[in-house]
């Protein structure tokens, strides 16, 4: 088992370095702009541009730049400095990370509760009106673009511009430490919007999985033996939940790298938005820092899921 874990983790680290290299090459080969040019763009002097390039280390060979970068990241945890605000990338990211984590974790909780709850209920009351409505609703939510749902939510419920002024509008996010109530209320709509798609998926999956499980022989046996229905259901849920857990891990990982749409719509100062802003202004260090972070989340989530799987299913360890 440990051998498997070690192998997995080593591959994870290798993946991270590969992604790092790929990003690096990608953004240098296809630069969105020359950051020295953009920054010096306020001063129309070519010698200034060369100087800025020198200062930012952009005139060294690509491989030198890359090795310097990798060394800094993996040995010193130094992710470099933003070309525009001169803040260290690490502090930029750590400023923005709480918002993204708030968003993702809150949404994650909603997925589980909403998705599983609805899924289980629907499975148990198969073909009832509740089932049809729930599954229908789930399907609609899965099909709607999340940024559009966000805009609709704002249009209907935002305190400043909505039809029924209930929740704080876009841009009202504050850190949990400065004003917990404001933090909570400003996140409600983003949580629901972000969770809706995935919760719907989970609900459908849970429903299918549970229905199948409940049809299994051992469940029938348990019932025949006189076990209370509730306990029977619990047995069923416990085995039906496996794939859901897998998916949850993968989703969280991917999500942390992809909250940019919701952060844009609701104006939440998170890492996703930081990544987007840095890409459009070719702020290399920030781009790489954020991409690396997102990749790290995905990779870690994958590792955790794989290890959990290996724990549950010994066959996997030897593949």
């Amino acid at each position: 088992m440990t051998a498997y874990i070690v192998r997995r983790v080593l591959w994870g680290i290798a993946l991270l370095v590969i992604v790092c290299a790929l990003t690096f090459v990608l953004f240098r080969v296809f630069p969105t702009a020359n950051p020295a040019q953009l920054r010096a763009g306020r001063s129309p002097q070519p010698k200034v541009i060369h100087e800025i390039e020198r200062v930012l280390g952009l005139n060294k060979s690509l491989s030198t730049q890359f090795f310097d970068y990798v060394k800094n990241v993996f040995l010193h945890f130094n992710l470099g400095y933003s070309y525009y605000s001169d803040e260290s990338v690490r502090s930029l990211i750590s400023e923005r990370l709480p918002a993204t984590i708030s968003l993702t974790l809150g949404a994650g909780v909603l997925w589980i509760v909403g998705g599983l709850g609805v899924g289980i209920l629907s499975a148990l009351r198969r073909h009832s009106l509740l089932d049809r409505l729930a599954m229908g609703g789930a399907l609609v939510l899965v099909s709607a673009p999340e940024f559009w749902l966000g805009l609709i939510a704002l249009f209907l419920f935002a305190q400043d511009i909505g039809q029924w002024r209930i929740f704080p509008g876009a841009g009202s996010y504050v850190g949990i430490t400065s004003d917990p109530w404001q933090w909570f209320t400003s996140m409600i709509m983003p949580w629901f919007v972000l969770a809706s798609g995935s919760a719907a998926v989970f609900a459908r999956l849970m429903r299918g999985s549970l229905i199948e499980t409940m049809g299994e022989d051992y469940i029938r046996t348990a019932r025949a033996k006189g076990l209370a229905e509730r306990r029977v259901v619990r047995h069923g849920v416990r085995s039906a939940i496996n794939p859901i857990v897998t998916l949850f891990g993968l989703e969280i990982g991917t999500l942390l790298g992809g909250t940019v749409l919701i952060e844009t719509v609701f104006n939440i100062p998170g890492v996703g938005r930081l990544a987007y802003d840095s890409i459009t202004t070719a702020d290399f260090s920030v781009i790489q820092g954020t991409v690396l972070l997102a990749a790290m989340f995905i990779i870690v989530a994958n590792i955790v899921v794989d290890i959990a799987y290996a724990y549950l299913d010994p066959r996997v360890r030897y593949s």
């Binding site: 020359n34 306020r42 129309p44 001169d86 509008g169 841009g171």
Partner: protein
């Protein structure tokens, strides 16, 4: 000055001689008429030219909501309106303007600048008793002003206009942050600029720029050694307000949190006896981020809150319809026009340029921007509040057939296309135009209208919208990229002198390989020569006439295609008695605004 979002226009003097008031008084708007400011309609709304400057209530905190973050708060770097309102509340350049005036008043200076008869020396005497804010605390001397200007040449600071306006100071061309030969400080309260060319008028006008705001050398030097300089994060103030800092002087993290907020508090070392500003407010809390549509609502429905940037279009409409007393319209906020490649491609032919000018529906362009309330049809390149505007034709501009019909005139367009060598009246060459516009709203809409117009002339286009700083920095400002049409360029003067509107943007000598502001690469030897001659004219009336003539020639050459003279709308909450700066697009001036 090239503007990224909104130009920072400092609309100033049209006076014949630089007769400056001794100490700015509370006189209401004066001297605006010749530059056309009063001819511009502000829709009956409050305007900087008609507002009262005194009589405000002391105290209170003003909340400012801004979507955009600052570009730079370093007085030696700041260049855009988004920075100016903070910089001009905390820093005192040698001269500055009252909100409703076009005349510069002595700020750190104690009187008018003395110009030598050979126009090669400018002498300024400084006020006494002005102190830096904590932690520096000591009195400001001429050495500090000298250092402020000198650091502009330091590559770690890289002031964007140093060469343009101070390049004629002896030794400035070779300067890189060290002492400059031509800047002399004979005593603690006098500074003398020795010029190598007779450009004293231009330099004297340029003393309103924030580069001239004093910076203490012994305190700032260590920050200016960093690449890039981070003096902005530790800056001290000379104005009525300062960015909140800690005991060591650090502003970053308290007075300024990038992307989040800036906080201005009273400068304890500022003395009202040395300043003409009333400084009613106790504190100014600036909150960054959000979306304009939401910010606008929060401001209009709020009390002690303002927005200090151009509001969203829908908000301007809302204010004009339902919050009339909370809306201010300021003329002379800059221009928007279409830069076309004069050097290569189809538009190097003057008749093709005229055809586009004729074909473009300028009223539609302005409607997309928000209508007549915020945009006037642009007919030539100098704009209202700039001296020489009236001489260049005023609102109507030069009477040529392609300028006559702002709604667009297909017949005239066809005529010029035929003159250009396309007998069908439509382009038949094989070149696909590369068009790069600005993604923002409403520039995006304007760019699409231009795209359609180009298509109606028979062109095929490769049309892309990008972020503004990428548009300028990577495409339109780089001649090598050979972009054919840049429909979203904007310009505003650095201070109200016609040279600052036309020189950098249309002089062949101003073309540089990157960061180029002569986006069309206009390079007509006659016009270049006229500009060189006009640069050194020091008599105000003659100067205005010369530059107005250049404006005419640019129109006849159709060097670029104009469409909008900006009027900026600004909004305030119901409890704010806002005073806007005419020279800064009417944006709210923290030194004069107060709460009701």
């Amino acid at each position: 000055m090239r503007s990224i979002r909104v130009p920072a226009a400092t609309a100033l003097a049209m006076t014949l001689v630089l007769a400056l008031a001794a100490c700015g008084s509370s006189s209401s708007g004066s001297g605006n008429s010749g530059s056309g400011a009063s001819a511009v309609s502000t829709g009956g709304f409050q305007s900087p030219t008609t507002q009262a400057l005194t009589g405000g209530k002391r105290g209170g905190t003003l909340v400012v909501l801004n979507e955009s973050d600052f570009e730079s708060l370093d007085p030696g770097v700041a260049y855009y309106n988004v920075d100016y309102e903070v910089v001009f509340a905390t820093q005192r350049p040698l001269y500055s303007q009252e909100p409703n005036s076009v005349e510069p008043s002595p700020d750190m200076a104690s009187g008018a600048p003395e110009v030598s008869s050979d126009e090669k020396t400018v002498t300024v005497h400084l006020r006494e008793g002005v102190h830096f804010s904590p932690p520096v605390n000591r009195e400001v001397t001429s050495e500090d002003v000298a250092y402020a200007i000198e650091r502009g040449a330091n590559e770690n600071v890289a002031n964007p206009y140093f060469q343009s306006y101070f390049g004629s100071v002896e030794g400035a061309e070779k300067a890189s942050g060290g002492p400059i030969k031509g800047i002399e400080t004979p005593n603690k309260h006098t500074i003398v600029l020795h010029l190598s060319e007779p450009k004293a008028q231009l330099v004297a006008h340029a003393l309103v720029l924030p580069l001239t705001a004093a910076v203490p050398r012994e305190y700032a030097q260590r920050f200016d050694k960093n690449k890039p300089s981070d003096y902005a994060n530790y800056q001290v103030a000379t104005g009525p307000y300062m960015l909140e800092n800690d005991a060591a002087g650090k502003v970053l993290g308290t007075g300024y949190i990038p992307g989040k907020s800036a906080t201005l508090v009273r400068n304890p070392n500022w003395s009202p006896k040395t300043d003409f500003r009333p400084a009613y407010l106790n504190e100014i809390d600036i909150k960054l981020g959000g979306t304009k549509a939401v910010i606008g609502r929060q401001v209009l429905e709020g009390t002690n809150v303002v927005e200090n940037e151009l509001p969203a279009q829908s908000i301007v409409k809302l204010a004009a319809e339902r919050y009339k007393s909370q809306l201010e319209i300021s003329p002379g906020a800059g221009t928007h026009y279409i830069a076309v490649n004069n050097k290569v491609g189809p538009f190097s032919n003057v008749d093709v340029r005229k055809a586009l000018w004729a074909a473009l529906d300028r009223t539609a362009m302005n409607k997309a921007r928000g209508g007549a309330l915020v945009a006037d049809v642009m007919t030539h390149f100098l704009y209202p509040t700039i001296p020489g505007f009236n001489q260049a034709g005023g609102l109507a501009g030069l009477k040529v057939d392609y300028n006559e019909h702002p709604e667009g005139d297909a017949a005239v367009a066809e005529k010029y296309m035929k003159l250009a060598g396309y007998p069908s009246g439509k382009y038949t060459g094989g070149h696909t135009l590369v068009v790069v516009g600005d993604r923002g709203n409403p520039l995006e809409q304007d760019a699409e209208i231009v795209n359609q117009t180009l298509k109606s002339l028979g062109f095929t286009t490769k049309f892309t919208l990008v972020e503004p700083n990428v548009m300028y920095g990577k495409y339109c400002g780089v001649p090598k990229e050979e972009i054919d049409v840049c429909p979203s360029v904007a310009w505003g003067a650095d201070f109200p002198d016609p040279q600052t509107v036309l020189d950098n943007t249309f002089n062949g000598k101003s073309i540089v390989s990157t960061g180029n502001n002569n986006w069309g690469q206009t390079n007509d030897p006659k016009i270049n020569a006229a500009m060189t001659a006009a640069e050194t004219i020091n008599d105000q009336a003659a100067r205005e006439a010369a530059w107005a003539k250049i404006d005419d020639e640019l129109v006849q050459d159709a060097a670029a295609i104009p469409f909008d003279w900006d009027k900026q709308a600004n909004i305030e909450g119901s409890a704010v008695r806002g005073v806007g700066d005419l020279w800064d697009s009417g944006e709210w001036d923290y030194n004069y605004s107060s709460l009701k």
